[in-house]
């Protein structure tokens, strides 16, 4: 893929940092409170992977669409999905983004283009391609981003969808978050030793492999892919390497399950997308302790209020449970 050297400005860099911090604080708050057993649904947390969500979504317009997976909190928040609606959904409350019907694995905010986050592996990929097909037919210049995990590359539906997207030169960007794991099974147990980007290349997608823990790099690559898609140049595939920190599903860190040693975990966590950009910002004089504190206080307040809101929000009425079976 063409290298796009975008001159990323200071404001954008600070914005990336802020959005990452926001996602991090939300995931941590969920993990902290999960034990209260009031969030009665599975949660797949994404701390450690914020660089991809934020880098990708920062390159999108509000009208652009995204679809995502079971691990969607970061994508949803980075695309500016409502935090209150997300927390209400996780708490099973009426103002939740789908009225308590879905829980954490079914987030949605179509005001800002978060169309569908769905938990069956690969299920949202063709939906995203279909959305792009509709945009093309209608002559709209929206771009669709399909977030997917590395395991999706193993499902037939990825290939069927990529084939069609390429055939019709659709405005799609596939953003593959390669965190090496599916549940707790490493990539080497599931796929032969070949670059996943080669698969996408074989479908004639423009490809690029990058450090998913470098939000600036993701943003720049995404800018290129989005520009290409919007200009009718067809689909791209960004493979973003990263690691998740917590257990596949739930609040604990992976090492707490004995999946790795604490030292291994700390080594992994040292490659933190937020710390990486934070250090650059500090070096450039764009961030200092006071600035960081102010940011944390501001975000902490927003998050605390959203949790308060969710915990006090009404549950959906039982009589409404059967609504919307048919359109």
């Amino acid at each position: 893929m063409e290298k796009h050297v975008t001159q990323i400005n200071d404001e954008t860099r600070l914005g990336l940092y802020r959005e990452m911090l926001r996602i991090r604080l939300v995931e941590e708050a969920i993990a902290d409170r999960y034990g209260e057993q009031e969030m009665r649904c599975p949660v797949h947390l994404s701390d450690g992977q914020e660089g991809i969500a934020v880098g990708a979504c920062m390159a999108l317009r509000k009208e652009d669409k995204i679809v995502s997976t079971h691990r969607s909190h970061g994508h949803y928040l980075a695309k500016q999905g409502s935090l209150k609606a997300m927390l209400c959904e996780i708490y099973g409350r009426a103002p939740g983004c789908v009225g308590g019907r879905g829980g954490s694995m079914h987030l949605l905010d179509d005001e800002v283009g978060v169309l569908a986050c769905l938990p069956i592996v690969g299920t949202s990929v063709p939906l995203g391609v279909g959305v792009a097909y509709a945009a093309k037919r209608k002559g709209e210049d929206t771009v669709v981003t399909v977030f997917l995990g590395d395991a999706v590359m193993e499902e037939g539906v990825f290939h069927e969808s990529a084939n069609f997207a390429a055939l019709h030169s659709l405005p799609v960007v596939f953003v593959c978050e390669n965190n090496d794991l599916s549940f707790y099974t490493s990539l080497e147990v599931r796929q032969p030793d070949r670059p996943m980007t080669d698969i996408a290349k074989a479908h004639t997608l423009a490809v690029c492999e990058l450090d998913g823990n470098d939000a600036v790099t993701v943003y720049e690559a995404m800018n290129g892919a989005v520009k290409k898609a919007r200009g009718g140049g067809g689909p791209s595939f960004l493979m973003c390497n990263t690691r998740r920190w917590r257990e596949h599903c739930g609040p604990r860190y992976d090492y707490e399950l004995g999946q790795m040693t604490e030292q291994e975990f700390e080594a992994l966590r040292a490659d933190c997308p937020m710390a990486k950009l934070g250090a650059q910002l500090r070096e450039a004089g764009l961030l200092d302790d006071a600035g960081e504190d102010a940011l944390r206080a501001e975000l902490g307040k927003e998050i605390e209020e959203a949790f308060e809101f969710a915990r006090n929000a009404p549950f959906p009425e039982l009589e409404t449970a059967g609504d919307h079976v048919y359109a």
């Binding site: 057993q37 009665r40 649904c41 599975p42 959904e89 099973g92 409350r93 939740g96 009225g99 308590g100 019907r101 879905g102 829980g103 954490s104 694995m105 079914h106 769905l118 938990p119 069956i120 592996v121 690969g122 299920t123 395991a151 999706v152 193993e154 499902e155 037939g156 539906v157 599916s182 549940f183 707790y184 099974t185 147990v189 599931r190 796929q191 599903c249 739930g250 399950l257 004995g258 999946q259 549950f315 959906p316 009425e317 039982l318 409404t320 449970a321 059967g322 079976v325």
Partner: protein, 360 residues
């Protein structure tokens, strides 16, 4: 038969896998995350250590190919036990199941067979939602050539799974998540609980309740409550959904004259529909009241706990249904309800037992 200890359904299934793998080197397991710390809901503990990664085959996340690969290997005499954590994950593989697994014996004029077992789990924990809580047994039960089983008691979780693995036909074994927690006597060592049809789990004379899987456990508890108010319910555990053998059900209805079915899935086109149709056809003159069907409310499973309070067929709904059929007095029904409530001991409706911590 060897002596029985008390095990839960998950431990019982684990013993079935262990015994089968130890007896027959052609048996191997395949699936996604089948040997990580979760041990497939506690059904695979120690199997990796004992049998190694070749027989605890970790598969790519590709259910359609996985199923076809299992069928191909089975055609060559292997006995794969494919295990998926949710029923929904196998929806990607229905073509392989319906066209190849179900038909390979028939369409090859008996030359090939596909002795595979596909274990699928019905999720009913906290907030599993529309894609992770479906009970789709009647979909599989539609197809000639498949065997479809749903164990309820721990003894069956082991004995029926062993029978399934030794069976020469493809068997879909649907394990409701909440039977994994339920304890019961389980014999040691190798034994088979035949896949030949239903069993009477409790005798009674006023009404026949036919239930599957977790609903059997609830029906048994409810039958106790009904008994105390003078209503005698016979509880039949369906066990084998295809091939469907209803001899025992017909015999029971001849005695009671009343039939209630409980599906763990939706009522429309569910197992209850099939049972009621057969009973209406063959036992019409013996019926004292129109048969009744219970099952899930007729919409997808919502996540919020407040939306599922009466989504599942509750013991209260069963008491009401039976009470009305036998013409019970309202005091009797009240008393039975109160007894059930006491039996539940104040547990929230989304919790199967006091130690349950969610979400799975």
């Amino acid at each position: 038969m060897p002596e029985a200890r008390s095990l839960n359904g998950a431990e019982a299934a684990r013993e079935a896998l262990f015994e089968s793998m130890e007896r027959d080197p052609d048996v191997f397991m395949m699936g996604e995350g089948i040997a990580d710390h979760g041990n497939f809901f506690g059904t695979t503990n120690g199997l990796m250590e004992k049998f190694g990664s070749e027989r605890m085959l970790e598969m790519p996340v590709a259910e359609n190919a996985m199923t076809g690969i299992a069928i191909g290997a089975a055609m060559m005499g292997q006995r794969p036990v494919m295990s998926l954590q949710r029923v929904e994950f196998v929806l990607l593989a229905l073509e392989q199941i319906f066209d190849n697994a179900a038909k390979i014996h028939y369409a090859t004029n008996g030359r090939h067979k596909a002795p595979i077992v596909i274990r699928l789990v019905v999720g009913r924990g906290w907030g599993q939602g529309p894609h992770h809580a479906q009970s789709l047994e009647s979909v599989f039960a539609h197809f000639p050539g498949l065997k479809v089983i749903m164990p309820a008691l721990a003894r069956d979780s082991k004995g029926m799974l062993i029978a399934a693995i030794e069976d020469d036909s493809p068997v879909i074994c649907i394990e409701h998540r909440w039977i994994h927690f339920a304890k019961g006597p389980v014999p040691e060592g190798h034994y088979v609980e035949p896949l030949d049809g239903p069993r009477v789990r409790r005798e009674g004379s006023d009404v026949t309740i036919v239930a599957t899987s977790y609903a059997v456990l609830e029906a048994l508890a409810t039958a106790e409550a009904l008994d105390k108010v003078g209503i005698s319910a016979e509880v039949i555990d369906l066990r084998v959904l295809r091939p469907l053998n209803l001899d025992l059900v017909k015999k029971s209805v001849a005695k009671t004259g009343r039939l209630v079915t409980i599906d763990t899935g939706w009522i429309t086109c569910g197992m209850g529909s099939e049972i009621v149709a057969t009973v209406a056809q063959e036992c019409f003159s013996e019926l004292k009241a129109p048969p009744q069907r219970l099952g899930l409310a007729d919409y997808p499973t919502p996540s919020s706990r407040s939306l599922v309070t009466d989504y599942y067929p509750t013991p209260e709904a069963l008491i009401d249904c039976v009470g009305e059929m036998v013409g019970a007095k309202s005091e009797q029904m009240e008393a039975a309800r109160a007894d059930m409530a006491e039996h539940r001991g104040g547990l929230p409706h989304d919790v199967p037992n006091p130690t349950f911590q969610g979400p799975f």
